[in-house]
């Protein structure tokens, strides 16, 4: 009886997922992107009119999207895909890349490395995509990345784990999310600018506790300050009095609460009780609206949070926001918007120098991403403007919705904006967006 019940539930879940896929595929057709295999057969004759205009009779350039439409990333995946589709539609309306339309194929990575790898295989082997974009979970990206560099397909990702760009990826990975080291380093710089000299690092037990500590020590030493104490605490404790005692003894001017929501909530309460008057600094995911519901304002007032932020003042972000309408533009869809733009402009730049065989287009895109995203070229904020400039033979520097999108030699993003906010009377007040 019981097992039959469970099975029928599982079946129901599967059915639901299929239903979800169908809807998305239908949406895809409505937008006139050909789906999957059929496009390979249609060749030239039935290349679909995109945006109402018939395309030139040229073979399309195919890109693959692998966002998490279901699973833990489910809340973000559909919007990430929508951002990519918007850019592709815009590029096609602008005439595509050197007359070649862009074709977008997508699979659901299910926030699951296994499904992600299967999806990537299909996109690379069957659809022969020239670039992959939109992987979200670090575990998925880690699984998919080797397939990409082995097949010379650039991978644009929003995953944050430090280890990803340390893979031997030969330049094929571009990451638009700051890695955790950069996030800590940026936070440390902010604190130093604010005059912090003695910081106490209270970290939840996690894979990034020690690397955060190393970064903090390096930064504060260089600034003539010091990390006055470092405790890795166990997250599941209900009381942290002894930890707070140790902290008070070290007399820090700033405490860096490097934990998660439940433990940081308890720590804020205990710091208040203990009469700690220094600066309290914590990642934005560790203090949110829920914290304000749990703790009285007098306890949370003054807490400073920071997080990487899309460049909300940028023209690219503003246009993406208009396109999304009522849907809020989260940092991930801002990033996938930039993934698609980067891939298309890099392909245009590669083809500007003459024909490139399809088998080498992936590598050519890899080699051209930095040429169109950084440097002294004309600043462009949309794929259409970028294509027009490249077609006119001008150098471009794409500034995206997520930020100025410049990559270092490992493929890590540089120059992402960070948002600093301070809790004040049960809400966040923006301090800085830099």
């Amino acid at each position: 009886m019981m097992s039959a019940g469970i099975f029928s539930q599982v079946r129901l879940l599967h059915r639901r997922r299929d239903a979800l896929r169908c809807t998305i595929h239908e949406g895809d057709k409505i937008m006139s992107f050909t789906t999957t295999r059929r496009a390979a057969l249609v060749g030239t004759a039935s290349l679909f009119a995109i945006g109402g205009r018939a395309m030139a009779q040229a073979a399309p350039i195919t890109f693959g999207a692998l966002p998490p439409l279901t699973g833990a990333g489910g809340p973000y995946g559909p919007a990430m895909l929508r951002a990519i589709q918007g850019v592709v539609a815009e590029a096609n309306e602008a005439g595509g890349v050197r007359g070649r339309p862009i074709r977008l194929v997508f699979e659901d990575d299910q926030t699951n490395p296994d499904a992600g790898v299967r999806g990537a295989r299909k996109l690379i082997d069957v659809d022969r995509v020239q670039a992959l974009m939109g992987t979200w979970a670090s575990s998925v990206t880690t699984g998919v990345a080797p397939l990409c560099w082995e097949n010379r397909v650039p991978l644009f990702t929003v995953s944050g784990a430090d280890s990803i760009t340390l893979l031997p990826h030969q330049g094929y990975i571009f990451r638009t999310q700051p890695n955790s080291r950069l996030q800590i380093a940026t936070g440390a710089d902010y604190l130093i600018r604010q005059g912090a000299r003695r910081v106490f690092h209270l970290a939840a037990q996690s894979p990034f506790a020690q690397s955060s500590q190393d970064t903090l020590v390096e930064k504060f030493r260089a600034a003539g300050g010091q990390v006055a104490g470092y405790i890795v605490y166990e997250r599941d404790k209900t009381a942290f009095r002894s930890e707070v005692d140790q902290l008070l003894r070290a007399r820090p001017d700033t405490v860096f609460l490097n934990g998660y929501l439940p433990d940081v909530t308890i720590l804020l309460r205990e710091l208040f009780r203990a009469g700690f008057e220094g600066r309290r600094f914590t990642p934005a995911y560790a203090v949110n609206a829920n914290t304000f519901a749990t703790l009285p304002n007098e306890v949370t007032n003054g807490v400073i949070t920071w997080q990487p932020s899309p460049d909300e003042a940028s023209p690219a972000f503003t246009r993406l926001k208009t396109r999304f309408g009522a849907t809020e533009v989260d940092p991930y869809s801002a990033q996938t918007h930039d993934h698609a733009t980067l891939a298309i402009l890099a392909a245009a730049q590669a083809l500007a120098g003459g024909a490139v065989p399809d088998a080498q287009l992936g590598t050519a895109i890899r080699d051209n991403v930095r040429r169109i995203s950084q440097g002294s070229g004309e600043s462009v904020s949309s794929v259409a403007a970028g294509l027009a400039a490249i077609n006119a033979g001008r150098a471009v520097n794409f500034d995206g919705a997520s930020g100025p999108v410049s990559f270092d030699e490992r493929g890590d993003i540089q120059g992402t904006k960070f948002r600093y906010e301070q809790a004040d009377g049960g809400r966040f007040r923006l301090l800085e967006l830099i």
């Binding site: 002894s242 930890e243 003894r249 909530t265 007098e298």
Partner: protein
């Protein structure tokens, strides 16, 4: 750590932490004394109590003392219901089966709470007070108040056991169920009362933990290891033992912070269980066996 104040502070923190563990440990040991199986569902009862108290306090505006009473009653009622529906039918299969079922029960209760209230943290509607300072030693008014509540609940339980007919019957069943039965004490009724009181105390303790911190569906589960350790250290089935064991575990966990990284603090609960089982299997105050 040279200053005596540091040690005094640690001892004090430990005693407060112990007083938080005391009631769930007593509840656990009560149920063990009468029914002879370890009911790990005290974790679930503690969570249920914490949320019932939260409803009473933050939603219905009752003061903390009345909300604690609500926590006791709600957790007791849920405990009794769960015992009758889920655990009692398994008793003939032996204590191990019931113990395993109680682990399942705590997961079930935790998820029912999650279903009803979500995963968010919740705090009671109480002012957060600054600590008092005595010559550099910090004392939190909330913790003092909590210890008083815990002490009052324990004292009431002792009074019940020592001075009432019901209490004597409970002790009789704990001591020798067959003999108690012959003497006309209904062991089933006593079992029900004990489960109600035991689960209720766990709920009371769960709310005390919540008053000091904040609550979520894992509130009880986080402390269950320390609670179990306290009961074992004190001697399973001994109520004064559970109270003493809670203090030993509480102070031990804080003292361990001096020599160990705080991240390894939980190891002290395991160490306490290990040492007691090696050198004094009946526990500090346990007499049985």
């Amino acid at each position: 750590m040279a200053d005596w104040r540091d040690l005094a502070q640690i001892a004090l923190n430990g005693l407060f932490a112990g007083s938080m563990l005391m009631l769930p440990a007593i509840g656990f040991t009560c149920i063990f004394a009468v029914l002879r199986y370890p009911n790990f569902a005290v974790a679930g009862f503690a969570t249920v109590g914490a949320f019932a108290g939260w409803l009473a306090n933050a939603q219905f505006g009752l003061p903390a003392a009345l909300a604690l009473l609500a926590a006791f009653l709600a957790a007791g009622a849920i405990g009794l219901l769960a015992e009758e529906l889920a655990l009692k039918p398994l008793r003939p299969a032996g204590p191990l089966t019931v113990a395993i079922a109680s682990v399942a029960l705590t997961i079930l209760l935790e998820n029912m709470v999650r279903f009803a209230f979500g995963n968010d943290l919740r705090g009671y509607d109480l002012p957060i007070l600054r600590d008092w300072r005595f010559d550099g030693i910090r004392v939190s008014p909330q913790q003092v108040e909590n210890s008083l509540y815990a002490g009052a609940a324990t004292a009431s339980l002792f009074a019940l056991l020592a001075f009432t007919r019901l209490g004597r019957a409970m002790r009789a069943v704990a001591d020798n169920p067959t003999l108690a039965d012959i003497k006309g004490v209904d062991p089933d009724r006593i079992a029900r009362v004990t489960v109600f009181i035991g689960a209720g105390l766990a709920g009371f303790g769960g709310m005390l933990i919540g008053l000091d911190t904040s609550i979520d569906p894992l509130t009880g589960f986080r402390v269950v290891l320390s609670v179990f350790a306290a009961a074992v250290v004190g001697g399973l089935g001994s109520i004064p033992g559970a109270a003493l064991g809670a203090m030993v575990v509480g102070v031990g966990e804080e003292l361990a912070g001096v020599v160990l990284e705080p991240a390894y603090r939980t190891v002290t609960a395991f160490l306490a269980i290990l040492l007691v089982l090696m050198f004094r299997p009946s526990g500090l105050l346990g007499a049985r066996n």
